[in-house]
């Protein structure tokens, strides 16, 4: 294992402290328990939004703390959900009297720990509503599984819910927008290489030189299907095919297309993926009116990508376009 780290046990604490220093105009960090919060929190009268989960997916979530998006992010150890304590502390820190929304990716650990934290915060008089994100179409039959996973679509939920909170929507309305985004976004990913969790020291799985994993999650867990390497266009056709099968579009409907790198993918490859995905959507009559390409929800140094498609309407487009000022996503200010 070769990494630019010191003691594997200190990876998250050191990274969070570096992050907060580098972006001190936007955030500050608490280190005991660990969470990242907007520099100007709490904002009186504004619904607070907290997300979190295991580390190793950066910029998710701390990179999205700031004006127009999250109020706080709670990073657990690498690939391990945080415990309730820091979630409760973050929830308190952002509560401006209008209640707090928890945006939770659908993993057993995240769901259980946020559930406990919501109960504890509720017991202290803070109104908390949770929205579970489960955009990953790779998990097929949720009757026989823990359900679909929350992956790159989470970024879209956080951005759009954040805009709703920033314009002054109340807790129920912000939660409703978050749930709407989740219901309209689908994601599917591919891995070319595994990643190495610092405390494990070994690759999460092994792939032969000509193998790829289709339907990968974001925790270095193996995907659903292992196939031989194919040209990028053929891989995109698989991923987008699964998405469109799950969420059909009518000709003329509008979409946001997100091509997300898993952390170790060169940018040229992401744009090659984008190119084919946009082409295929155009062939199906889908109008791509908004785009996002880059590393947003990663698995450490994994090579690979995911494609997310969000079905837009006027309201979601307006919220997407609203100003945002975070370390990883910024426009309009």
């Amino acid at each position: 294992m070769k990494k630019l780290i010191n003691d594997p046990k200190n990876v998250v604490a050191e990274a969070v402290s570096g992050f907060a220093q580098a972006h001190s105009d936007i955030v500050r960090a608490e280190l005991d328990p660990v969470f990242v919060v907007r520099a100007d929190a709490p904002r009186s009268g504004k619904v607070g939004i907290v997300s979190g989960g295991g580390s190793g997916h950066e910029p998710l979530h701390a990179g999205f703390v700031g004006f127009g998006m999250l109020d706080a992010a709670v990073p657990g150890p690498v690939f391990t959900s945080p415990t309730p304590d820091p979630i409760v502390a973050a929830t308190k820190a952002v509560d401006g009297g209008a209640g707090v929304l928890h945006i939770v990716k659908n993993y057993t650990g995240d769901v259980l720990n946020f559930e406990t934290a919501a109960d504890l915060a509720g017991a202290e008089g803070i109104e908390v509503v949770s929205v579970i994100v489960d955009d990953d179409v790779a998990v097929k039959d949720s009757l026989y599984t823990a359900g679909r996973r929350g992956v790159a679509g989470t970024v879209l939920v956080e951005k759009i819910a954040g805009a709703a909170a920033e314009r002054g929507d109340n807790l129920a309305a912000v939660a409703a927008v978050a749930a709407t985004v989740n219901s309209r976004v689908r994601t599917m990913g591919v891995a070319l290489t595994p990643c190495v969790v610092p405390h494990a020291g070994e690759p999460s799985f092994t792939l032969a030189d000509d193998e790829i994993e289709i339907g990968i999650g974001i925790h270095g867990e193996p995907g659903r299907e292992r196939i031989k390497l194919e040209p990028a266009d053929a891989i995109v056709d698989r991923l987008l095919g699964a998405i469109l099968e799950d969420m059909p579009f009518e000709a003329g409907e509008e979409a946001l297309l997100l091509v997300n790198g898993m952390g170790g993918t060169p940018q040229v490859e992401l744009y090659i993926v984008y190119r084919r995905a946009a082409e295929l959507l155009a062939e199906r009559g889908v109008k791509v009116t908004r785009s996002l390409v880059g590393n947003f929800t990663t698995s450490l140094e994994m090579q690979g990508a995911s494609i997310s498609v969000l079905k837009l309407d006027a309201e979601l487009t307006e919220l997407w376009d609203a100003p945002v000022q975070t370390a990883a996503l910024r426009w309009g200010r």
Binding site: T80, G109, L112, T145, H199, P222
Partner: protein, 215 residues
């Protein structure tokens, strides 16, 4: 011989468990890497090391229930992941079942084990055969219940529970998972042991060892 377990047993259990989990850290990571995300050994080791520190802070007259409660709250606040809330709830429910008794006889011990298992089911909604820690706990509770009905003492009860848990953990290998991360793998989980079932078996064997050392 007083046929019950007391606070000293509870402490010895946890100390032994912390040792065993530290020894099995890499083995549990490996199991979890194969069908999960490779952190289970790290999570459990971190949690039980924290528990050790908190045990020192307990009053001398702490009951078994007090010990189990400290374990519960420490695991909840240090383990994270799926295992943290699940084991946390298990120890919390066991502590509640133990109440303020200073000693737990056979039936009380089985009641505590049953409460622990029910707590895991309450939070995680897993059924037997879903390839989770429940597949260690349910046979363990069943064996303990049978043992106490047959008039066994606490050490024998824990022996029965630990052996059944070990068999249950081994029996997860051919299963397809329906809960937790391994469920995303479909058939590809077949042939791998569930890490949580394995750590549960280690925990129950530690409970037995702690009772054996005393008797």
């Amino acid at each position: 011989m007083a046929d019950s377990v007391d606070a000293a047993w509870a402490r010895a259990w946890i100390v032994t468990a912390a040792e065993v989990l530290a020894e099995n850290r890499v083995a549990l990571i490996t199991l979890d890497r194969e069908i999960g995300d490779g952190d289970h050994g790290e999570n459990m080791d971190r949690g039980f090391q924290a528990v050790l520190e908190h045990l020192d802070g307990l009053a001398d007259d702490a009951t078994p229930g007090d010990v189990l409660k400290v374990v519960a709250t420490t695991l909840i606040s240090t383990v994270g992941g799926a295992a943290g809330p699940l084991y946390g709830t298990a120890f919390l429910k066991a502590a509640l079942a133990a109440g303020s008794a200073t000693e737990l006889d056979g039936p009380a011990l089985v009641a505590a084990l049953t409460a622990a298992r029910d707590g895991i089911v309450l939070r995680g909604k897993a059924e037997p055969g879903d390839k989770t820690m429940i597949d260690a706990w349910t046979p363990a509770v069943d064996a303990a219940t049978a043992a106490v009905a047959a008039g066994a003492g606490v050490h024998e009860i824990l022996q029965a529970a630990a052996s059944a848990a070990e068999a249950g953990a081994a029996a997860t290998e051919p299963l397809v998972a329906r809960k937790g991360r391994a469920s995303y793998l479909g058939d590809r989980a077949i042939g791998h042991r569930d890490p949580g079932a394995q750590s549960s078996a280690l925990l129950l064997r530690a409970a037995e060892a702690a009772a054996g050392a005393r008797s």
